[in-house]
């Protein structure tokens, strides 16, 4: 079931397109699902398919084609570290290695406490601020020296009491 609030957000997206082209909103609807639930499940693909009147497999094609959709649950914070050439020249790969050792995981993995998922990413489009990383598909963090990475990780780990981040 899609909540009323989610349905309203979906409706805002479909309103951008001609009435017979609702499928155009699939990218946005899946991003909304992900922001609310953390990942895109097969069930939510089905919901989106029903809402937009498109075959579920066409929704699944979108989920699997685009890099940012999580096809399985991720940690509370998904960290995407850019290691493409412009970032690499300014320590992007070092930043990824540093996070691997600090978090005790290798890229692609989630910390045992479920707090962080660490991923390598392709160009985030913020090359002048390198090295950069993207948190939960939304917040771009700039000039991420080792010192700033420490501040980021330590800062996000603290609010233990808020671990049940309101996802509504």
């Amino acid at each position: 079931m899609i909540s009323e609030k989610t349905a309203a957000r979906f409706a805002r997206e479909t309103a951008k397109y001609p009435a017979d082209q609702k499928q155009s909103a699939v990218m946005a609807c899946l991003a909304i699902i992900q922001a609310e639930a953390g990942f895109v499940s097969a069930e939510s693909e089905q919901l989106v398919a029903n809402y937009l009147g498109m075959p579920p497999i066409a929704v699944h094609e979108v989920t699997t084609f685009y890099n940012m959709y999580n096809q399985r649950p991720v940690g509370r914070y998904k960290l995407n570290v850019c290691t493409n050439l412009p970032c690499q020249l300014r320590g992007g790969s070092d930043a990824l290695k540093y996070l691997e050792s600090k978090l005790g995981v290798v890229m692609g993995q989630t910390t045992p406490d479920g707090c962080f998922t660490l991923q390598q990413s392709e160009c985030l489009g913020a090359c002048a601020d390198a090295p950069v990383l993207l948190v939960n598909d939304l917040t771009m963090c700039s000039f991420m020296s080792h010192e700033k990475l420490d501040q980021l990780i330590d800062g996000l780990q603290i609010p233990e009491g808020n671990s049940h981040a309101s996802s509504e």
């Binding site: 155009s24 498109m54 084609f65």
Partner: protein, 489 residues
């Protein structure tokens, strides 16, 4: 959004948000048009209008008046082009854009006025205008700053383009990774709608124009215009075969014009000041300013808006020179797909479409990736090759398979397992990709390989063991794992 609702986390994250101080508000632009007068806080409609914003749109619509006082009632105004004042006809707008020498800022450098004239203006059905803000070419980060700090320049430019081509609906497709900028642009759209600058009968004229924002979600290929259209239709972003070109068969099969963000943002200045003035800022056939995203081994990476034709040496100086006083080794002058040029050639170039093309590369998106003398070119190429393999959409066999071959060969050279024949094989594979695919991603993957080997062959040879010592000759490259866990760099 978990994070947004979590105040503690939000305040932590806020510390690391881009401020634009280093990338944009450094005061080292030359004759800026798009980035002039910005400070990060003055992105709103009122600020834009105070800078002369929307005057160009008012001018073409023949709607006089200053910010805040739109034309009185719609009824007493004639149809499009014949507004309250003299107005400017769509043909005149296109003529002005042609005269300006404006060329597409997204990479191809195609003359904008000419592209606009391809739109079948008399087409009876719906036509579309699309802004390509899917800025994913490694090294490029200018459209992000334009939309973040001067979003209304894009909106006004698109409205003018739509007027010139008789289009009533448009989309701005924005790179999913800069989601915060997408939200900023949405906010700017709301402002424009509320002020009557978008919607039905704009400013009381007969011109109606609806503009919406859409976002990608992580696919480099969607920067290719037909892949972008597929994505905008809610599909996998796999490029279409051309022809037919979007001007005849674009979004939803309707005539569509697609321009880059920076191209649209340049338009209001041209209408306000005239095409000739724009042309005079640059050089013949290369009108206006260009925003260069300078990244890599410079003291001050950032966006620098300078006239086309500015010497590369000057641009390097604006960016603080090579980092730590080191020596310049090489430059990729137009985004990662552009062939690399050695320092000696680059220092002789001026930054414009023709000069860079003559030197054997391309201005592309204007992303200037600087490398100093400490850099290993094999390692650099390895990272780029991994990128193209990762981002190949999989549609064309030469690209899908070939990009993997390229990466695996560069990778084994980098690990000291290269073979004497690998450099020829690399060139051969690149040859067999280039020009044999539906879109330009194949070319983009092949060109860096050929240029790196052409200019820095000795570095590759130095990493390849002598023939006798090369043992691993029988392991098929395809047996090596490829997947999300493969670390390329």
């Amino acid at each position: 959004m978990q994070v947004v609702n979590d105040h503690a986390a939000a305040s932590v994250l806020a510390q690391f948000a881009a401020t634009g101080v280093q990338s944009c508000f450094h005061g080292r632009h030359i004759e800026p048009q798009i980035l002039a007068g910005l400070n990060g806080r003055n992105w709103r409609l009122a600020d834009y209008e105070a800078r002369g914003g929307y005057q160009a749109l008012r001018k073409i619509l023949g709607v006089s008046g200053s910010p805040g006082q739109s034309a009185s009632s719609a009824g007493d105004l004639a149809d499009v082009g014949g507004g309250g004042g003299a107005g400017i006809t769509p043909d005149q707008v296109i003529t002005e854009i042609k005269a300006s020498g404006l060329r597409g800022r997204g990479g191809a450098g195609f003359p904008t006025g000419l592209k606009w004239s391809f739109m079948p203006r008399q087409f009876p059905g719906q036509k579309y205008l699309v802004c390509n803000s899917d800025e994913g070419e490694p090294g490029t980060c200018k459209d992000r700053d334009i939309m973040q700090y001067n979003p209304h320049s894009v909106i006004e430019g698109m409205a003018i383009a739509a007027y010139a081509m008789g289009i009533s609906v448009a989309y701005n497709y924005i790179h999913g990774e800069i989601f915060a900028t997408y939200l900023r642009f949405e906010e700017a759209l709301e402002e424009a709608r509320a002020a009557g600058l978008l919607g039905d009968r704009i400013l009381g004229s007969g011109f109606s124009f609806h503009l919406y924002a859409a976002h990608g979600f992580g696919a480099y290929i969607c920067g290719e215009e037909t892949a972008l259209l597929e994505s905008l239709e809610g599909k996998k972003g796999q490029p279409r075969f051309k022809p037919p070109f979007p001007a005849s068969f674009g979004l939803y099969g309707k005539p569509t014009t697609i321009n880059n963000t920076e191209t649209f943002a340049a338009v209001p200045w041209i209408i306000r000041n005239g095409g000739q003035a724009f042309l005079e800022v640059g050089k013949p056939n290369n009108g206006g300013t260009k925003i260069y995203s300078v990244s890599g081994d410079v003291e001050s990476p950032g966006n620098y808006e300078v006239p086309l034709g500015t010497p590369f040496a000057k641009l390097l100086e604006l960016a603080g020179g090579v980092r730590k006083g080191r020596t310049l080794k090489a430059v990729i002058p137009g985004g990662s797909s552009a062939p690399v040029l050695p320092a000696s050639i680059m220092m002789e170039c001026t930054m414009d479409y023709d000069s860079i093309a003559k030197a054997g590369s391309m201005l592309g998106s204007g992303a200037v990736i600087v490398m100093d003398d400490s850099r290993c070119m094999v390692e650099s190429l390895k990272r780029l090759s991994y990128f193209y393999m990762h981002e190949s959409c999989g549609q064309c066999t030469p690209c899908r398979e070939g990009t993997g071959w390229l990466w695996r060969m560069v990778d084994r050279i980098h690990r000291g397992h290269g073979k004497q024949t690998d450099l020829d094989l690399l060139n051969s594979v690149a040859d067999n990709i280039q020009g044999r695919t539906i879109c330009a991603l194949g070319d983009a993957a092949a060109m860096p390989v050929r240029a790196m080997i052409k200019h820095f062959r000795h570095e590759f040879e130095a990493m390849i063991p002598p023939a006798a010592a090369s043992a691993a000759t029988t392991i098929p490259a395809s047996h090596q794992a490829v997947g999300s866990h493969v670390r390329s760099a």
